[in-house]
Amino acid sequence: MCLLAAPLLTFASSPLHGQSIDYGVLEQLFREPVTTSVDGSPRRASDAPADMEIITAEDIRRSGAKDIPGVLRHVAGIDVLRWSDSDADVGVRGYDQPFSPRLLVLVDGRQVYADHYGYTPWSTLPVELTEIRQIEIVKGPNSALFGFNAVSGVINIISFNPLYDDVNAISLSGGTQNSAEGSAVGTYKWRDRAVVRVAMGGRSSGDYTTPVPVLESGGPRQEDNYARTDFNAVVRLRPHVHIGIEATHSTAHLNEMDPAYVLQKVRYGTESIKGQLTAEEHYGLLQATIYTNWLRTRNSPGVLGQPLYFNNRVTVAQVQDIFRLGTNHTLRAAIEYRNNTERTTPFTGGRVYDNLFAASGMWRWKIASSLEFTNAVRIDNLWLGRSGLIPPAYLFSNADWSRTFTEPSFNSGAVWRPNEQNAIRFMIGRGAQFPSLADEGGFVETTNIGLTLSGAPTAKPSDITNYEVGWDHAIGPPGTFVHASAFHQHNDDLLSIEAATVVTPQTTFALTGNTGNSDANGLELGFHETFSGKYRWGVNYRAEHITDHLSPAAQNGSAYLDYQHTTPRHVIKANLGWAPKEWEIDSYLQFNSATQGLMPNGNGTMLTPIASYVSVDARLGYNLSDRITWSVSAQNLTRATQHQTSGPDVQRSVFGTLSIHF
């Protein structure tokens, strides 16, 4: 008899029966991750009608990263601008900048993108790396599912489901930059009915000691630190009906690059509370979610001398149902309501708010065994408003904020699988980026030099349309594949913090607004191989050419915006990993071609050169047992300091980590 020798796989069998989406079980069955981040319905990653990457828990562990941007940095198509030891901005396919507004980030479906200024403060995310099951990255606009601001892409951080995954771990690390970090995750199950998971973490760091360019300096650096807590409970009401409650809290003090390219000291406080009902019934997979995010920030007085206090609250209510119609059709219907409010700052006494109602739908049609078509649409209706005090000699009255925006979004994609080895994707998507509340007038600063910086109710949404074709080819054994994609993206009505200047007898207004268009053409190539269960390596290359068509006042990076010159044309990333027995050895290389950055010049911004560079990260891990791992990780290993952005040079950082899983 002939028996193919293969290790006997042990599938997790849980006494908690019934499924909402048990990612672990599905991943074990299909030998690849399962995602809902493309159109809301569960599907295999290789079947997704979008260009997406999924970073698994093992990838995270072996990345040697100390934070999520550090993990993302190794991913094809992702750009990370590291401004300080704790501050980074993430972009997809270029268009990256401080307070990057074009990338929507969620944790378990709850947005952690900060609506007050339209960006993601990564240090405040209440999720530990050991808690994350997978990070799903969708490249290109995905507003039809996730709503506005998912225009460059979406990052959905999926934590281990406490209902299915028993995660208990402690992690301690320390290293250069006087860094020290600790995290703990514990899960408790009560019979087959309920489960609670609590996670907490904290970190302190002395930050980089490289000089801050004079014009970017917002004062002496402070020590970076953060602390965060996440409480997650799930109760099984019936075999297929679950209710979940989550509460989070985080604080962070860090040196952060603001949209004016000034490195400021910032203090954050965030809280959230979320309730979610999931039911798998004959009428489909129903999910009802409601959550509120609170965010407070205090920025140190900048060059203009006034501290900024942001106080923002976002409440979101969503209901969706996914159901099948016959054999070949899957549909999704959803509605969403959102309320977003912020007090004006540094001018006090005013409040800017918006209310949004959205309806969306998705239709997946299995045309033939080898061909599937997915179409998703969404209509967002946003009502803007303002109340309270008006600054003296202001250009606008509260009535100017009584505006309505209606923005359609769509994503259409076809996946053709002519044989088992090949998948070809054709994708078109349109998304909308709404101005943040700060852009819409939440930020109003009257200086003592006759200048008033202000958001404006006249700022309108920016639209992005993306056209893309992609090809995935599997070679030989599972885990080996080639990827290629080509894309064209057109961006209309780009938003800038200084798009227009209005001179009045009392003051000169520098207003947020729209400042032109931009086109991007790009090509991505990748190869990845895993063999013998021990070795893995990959290489990917991105070539991208951006052409901006900006207003005359914004040419050559003068108005805090210049994607054409600040996006590297060539990026190469490579990784090599080896895991013999107890050891794990991984290295990551990145090459960025020469480009430019923006920095302030006292009257806006100017371009500054950034030479090409090669950066290497590495991790050496040793499994003392199946529960205890010791590792040493290094970032920017090859140089003590390196000029990667227009901000301070990044420094080499080395740290050791002890992880214990129970």
Binding site: M1, C2, L3, L4, A6, L8, L9, T10, F11, S13, S14, P15, H17, Q19, S20, I21, D22, V25, L26, Q28, L29, F30, R31, E32, V34, S41, P42, R43, R44, S46, E280, G284, L285, I322, R324, T327, N328, T330, K366, S369, E420, Q421, A474, P478
Partner: protein
């Protein structure tokens, strides 16, 4: 392609009891056959068992909501009565299944039967896997499936054409799982909604 081994499972909603004497004879027969397979004739050597496929098939059963979640699941491994050479492969499949953890909190117990034996079987079966060639006895298998509300699994795509397997599971470059929705409905099998959204449906 990792496997040229085909197997089938018939899944019965209620199950029926196997007489103990017959059970003992079956176990003894399986043991004798298993020992004979050490010196497998060349034809048997061509049959390869994909452990991945077997395990995936078992794991798919975890999404079958009409299957008991604990206890013992009796799994019939069905080979074509007119292809006795496939009996050896069936014995091998049974051995693998007996060492595979069952879905959810259950335990698997595999029983080897020919297509003729299946029609005459009076014991309790919860699952059957169809071996290569057994799809040629589709009518015979379907009669038993409908009579006892059983679900069949195979890794042979031909079973989909002959409409005699509810699930086709095949581990190759990709894990392929196809659900025959009409047949599943006709035998009263109900799978998790999430599972039906991820697999292919015929």
């Amino acid at each position: 392609m990792q496997s040229s081994f085909h197997f089938g499972f018939l899944i019965r909603q209620g199950g029926y009891r196997l007489p103990s004497k017959l059970y003992r004879c079956l176990i003894l027969s399986i043991s004798v056959l298993a020992s004979q397979c050490v010196t497998v004739p060349p034809a048997c050597a061509a049959d390869k068992i994909s452990v991945d496929t077997l395990q995936a098939a078992v794991h798919s059963l975890g999404f079958l909501e009409t299957l008991p979640k604990d206890g013992t699941i009796n799994a019939g491994v069905i080979y074509a009565a007119d292809m006795p050479s496939t009996e050896t492969s069936a014995e091998e499949a049974a051995r693998v299944l007996n060492s595979t953890p069952g879905p959810n909190s259950s335990r698997l117990r595999a029983i080897v039967l020919s297509t003729d034996g299946l029609s005459q079987f009076r014991g309790r079966l919860d699952v059957i896997f169809l071996m290569p060639g057994s799809s040629g006895h589709a009518d015979q298998i379907l009669n038993v499936m409908h009579a006892h509300q059983l679900v069949s699994i195979s890794d042979d795509p031909a079973c989909l054409d002959r409409n005699c397997c509810v699930l086709m599971v095949h581990s190759g470059q990709r894990m392929e799982i196809v659900l025959n929705t009409a047949l599943a409905n006709s035998v009263g099998a109900r799978f998790s909604l999430v599972f039906t959204m991820v697999v292919k449906r015929k």
